[in-house]
Amino acid sequence: MNTRWKFFVLATAALLVWMLPVAAQTYQIDPVHTSLVFRVKHMNTAYVYGMFREVKGTVIVDEANPARSSINIEVNADSVFTANEQRDNHLRSPDFFNTRQFPTITFRSTEVRRVNANTVQVRGNLTIRGITRPLTTSVTLTGKGKNPRGQDIIGFETTFTIRRSEFGIRYGLPGLGDEVRVTLSVEAGR
């Protein structure tokens, strides 16, 4: 095989590889750089903020075919933190999350649809306190890059509002607000 043929074969192979759909990439959520923050109104007056300190899960990203993307998140309900130990213990009790009986909060996506270059709409099932409700939220890609360890990382954020009463958390209504605004900012690496 002469040099011209070798070049032709290699160039064709390279072109074919480039043209093949990129395989979906699986990222693991980095709990250290992921924040799950919520806010709820106290006595119909001011918003009180809290967070969950332990979030883990998997994000599958398929840029060529976003429909094949997915996200699965698992939150340790016991890791709730509101900067007041007594209140945190109260939130862990059966009045709210009942963490002894329901130790995890989960979200499992069922459909991902691209909206524009940096935004996808994610549908899925959110389970809190053993009750599963459908949830649709708009997720924005906040960046891509490499972390100091050289891993590929991806970041995205979403904000949505749920009614806690729909998940059986009805204690203190209406003094403690029913609507809970949740912001999730994820950094995931592979």
Binding site: H90, N98, P103, S165, G168, R170
Partner: protein, 292 residues
Amino acid sequence: MDFLAQQLLWGAVLPASITLTVLVASWRAWRRDGVSTHWGTPLALSLGYLFAHWRIVGLPLRFPPVDSNEWLFAVAIALGFWGVIEHFACRQSLLGEAGRAVLAVTISWLVLRPLMGTLWQGMSAYIWWLLLALGWWLWWSLQARIASSIPGLPAPLVLSMVAGGGGFVLLWSNSSSLSQLSGAVAAVAGATVPLVLWRREGNIGAGGVAFIAGLLGFIWVNAIAFVPVPVWRIAMLAVASLTPCVALLPALKQKPGWNIVVMCAIATAILLSAVMVPTYRAYVASAGAYGY
């Protein structure tokens, strides 16, 4: 109406009114030939409590129940009917003991099952389940015996006081809903007191005690397993409820009835304060400025 007043109205005043209304109707309290107890007593107590439960934590979302709070609602219905059975079978003490044992073991198993294999592993899961069921059954049966030996005011008064004081202990142990539900038990048990005073030889009977003690015991099982409330606090509440036994002391047997009632109330208050004071101190020490 402010938050606290609203909670008191829905969780105590109206439930007590419902119970009292049904009691007055079933005892025919306005008539000379009215009765001094009735099988409707546990149903009146159950109706009042169920109203409070609905207002405090809402109606259950699922059946069969999954959540520990949902179980409380279902168990309150079951205990209403069990109280009717105990009313008619009050002379069959073996039936009462066996029935309470079956209920305590079965309900505990159903409610505590989600914790077995997760929170409690291996043999410890079975030990927790059996200890809680046994404790519940023993206390429940003791209350039945006390009520049958010392009829009249002591049983409902002391049970109401213990449920009310226990409500504060639960509140200071991180469970407002169980605290309020305990308060609801106090309210409906307290609603029987004026009627017991009004009717000559009135008493809430085996059925009433079956409901109040059964439900209060179950609230305590929930508090230990799910909040968790330290076991010693619940044990102290259980001890505080045994004060009607002072009526059995030989030195007091000749005393007038109201003397015994006052002594029971004072002894109960002292024993309750022995658990409420340290619980409150621990709460204040760790609560900071929380205050719910």
